[in-house]
């Protein structure tokens, strides 16, 4: 299972304090998501690409991650240009594409790619447990942080259980088709996974009780801000602020 594919590297971005990365990624994504002007969205994408380059993520892997995102966007390009009112641009049979529709699709493409690229650069470059501890340090409620940890820990176990069930199906010559037998089998598969994870959760909780768990989690790690963290933080905040200014003021460049 591919998780944490980008966390192993060693670059300036990898060494940054995870708290800085989380805050920057969150602010950046928010500003970009609500922005509409191209003079904000284009620079945002460029900033994202610069960050990704700094994080030395292999281009091929980056591309692989962008494929699913842009898979959805292709559908937007199929529909949006034809469903927006506005200046007609071109026509395909009875369907008329509008300028506004094309602009809108372009905006969404730029936004989503900029956000995903920044998330890959900043968040995917952080090991999951560092992220969890950073969330904890940022005063995110304990319950959410632990939900995050447990999900990460047991997703592999569930995945292995899923593979075992799938193999059990395969060795008895199960071939999915479009029929009731297939649907029922898949329903059983999902049902079994649910039941198994419920059972697992009970056993894990019992194991925790055995080790004196009384509803409180303690964290071993401490983060310390280094000068480079502070400098990067201020720099990125300035850039994000710049984007916000470009979006919400009448200054024309």
């Amino acid at each position: 299972m591919m998780v944490e594919g980008f966390a192993d590297g060693d670059s300036l971005i990898h060494r940054l304090d995870p708290r800085v990365k989380i805050i920057v990624a969150a602010l950046f994504s928010t500003i970009v998501a609500v922005s509409d002007r191209f003079r904000v969205l284009l620079p945002a994408l460029v900033i994202g690409l610069i960050l990704v380059m700094l994080s030395t993520v292999p281009v091929k892997k980056l591309f692989m991650r962008l494929v699913p995102v842009n898979g959805f966007i292709i559908f937007l390009w199929l529909f949006l240009p034809f469903t927006f009112d506005g200046e007609p641009l071109f026509a395909v049979g009875p369907l008329v594409a509008t300028n506004e529709g094309v602009y809108h699709a372009t905006r969404i493409t730029l936004k989503s790619n900029a956000i995903v690229v920044v998330l890959i650069a900043l968040v995917a470059s952080t090991p999951v447990f560092a992220l969890g501890h950073a969330l904890h340090e940022l005063r995110i409620p304990n319950k959410i942080v632990h939900l995050f940890f447990f999900t990460y820990r047991y997703i592999h176990v569930m995945y292995r259980e899923y593979l075992r069930l799938v193999n059990a199906m395969k060795i008895r010559n199960f071939r999915p088709a479009t029929n009731i037998h297939t649907y029922r089998t898949f329903a059983y598969l999902v049902g079994m996974l649910l039941v198994k994870s419920h059972e697992r959760a009970k056993r894990v909780y019992n194991a925790m009780l055995c080790r004196g768990f009384r509803g409180r989690f303690y964290s071993l790690s401490r983060f310390s801000l280094k000068p480079i963290d502070v400098i990067s933080f201020i720099l990125m905040l300035t850039v994000i602020l710049g984007l916000a200014v470009l979006e919400w003021t009448r200054i024309t460049l």
């Binding site: 999951v128 592999h156 019992n206 055995c210 009384r214």
Partner: protein, 250 residues
């Protein structure tokens, strides 16, 4: 017999799962300090249930549980018990839920109110004792089966227990890891109850063996030395044999 010597004393303990027949039926079990008891019995005979009852994860329908001379009945009683009685689960994936080994081993000590640094130190020492030095930052889900088992044992030992309850500690492990666990158990010299189908393991690490059947334990204190002479293919390689039934003496 001096009653205070019992560290675990179960009298007439019965237990049934809500949907089925009784698992334990007026079961009696006494363990003195320094004693090591092996438990064998068919699948579903209640061995795991028994261990879970001792640490209060399951509550018996009737009977009395006395641990370290104190009757344990409510959840609060068992919270104290669990610190002194360490239970090693059958499946290490149930026991290891932290991302890294160090954090997982430190979880128990932190719950016992140790400071970060103390917990870190205890975890480090425990790993060292088990020959797992250098495992601190390993990711728990990426460990091999044998490593997982050893780390689970570390998480239990880090609590500083006085008694260990081991549920199939070597099931599914290769011989090298099995031997490592046997050596660790011998070196630790802690009282323990060990559930296993592996008679060689029980012979090496326990003083006497109880056979669980019909919801009760029948203890066979007398050890009958006997050798098995057998011939089969591949005999020149060291090998294990399947579980032996205690009631069928060969």
């Amino acid at each position: 017999m001096d009653k205070d010597n019992f560290i675990i004393n179960l009298t007439d303990v019965s237990f049934a799962y809500p949907d089925g027949a009784p698992v334990l039926d007026k079961l009696n079990l006494q363990l003195r300090r320094g004693e090591c008891l092996g438990l064998v019995g068919p699948n579903g005979s209640g061995k795991t249930t028994l261990l879970h009852i001792i640490v209060g994860l399951l509550k018996p329908s009737s009977g009395n549980i006395e641990i370290f001379g104190k009757t344990a009945r409510r959840e609060e009683d068992f919270q104290g018990v669990r610190q002194r009685v360490g239970l090693l689960f059958q499946d290490a994936d149930d026991q290891l839920f932290h991302p890294t080994v160090l954090e997982d081993v430190a979880f128990g000590p932190l719950n016992l109110g140790k400071s970060r640094d103390e917990a870190r130190a205890i975890a480090g020492e425990t790993l060292e004792v088990l020959g797992l030095a250098g495992f601190e930052d390993r990711v728990t889900y990426k460990l091999s089966g044998g490593e997982k088992r050893l780390v689970s044992l570390a998480t239990v030992l880090a609590m500083g227990p006085e008694v260990l309850l081991l549920d199939e500690p070597v099931a599914g492990l290769d011989e090298a890891t099995e031997k490592r666990i046997i050596d660790i158990l011998k070196d630790l010299d802690l009282s323990h109850i060990l559930v296993s189908h592996n008679i060689d393991l029980l012979a090496e690490t326990t003083h006497y063996i109880g056979y669980m059947i019909d919801g009760k334990i029948s203890v066979d204190e007398e050890r009958v030395p006997h050798t098995h002479v057998h011939v089969h293919e591949h005999g020149r390689h060291t090998h294990k044999h399947g579980p032996h039934r205690l009631d069928k003496k060969s």
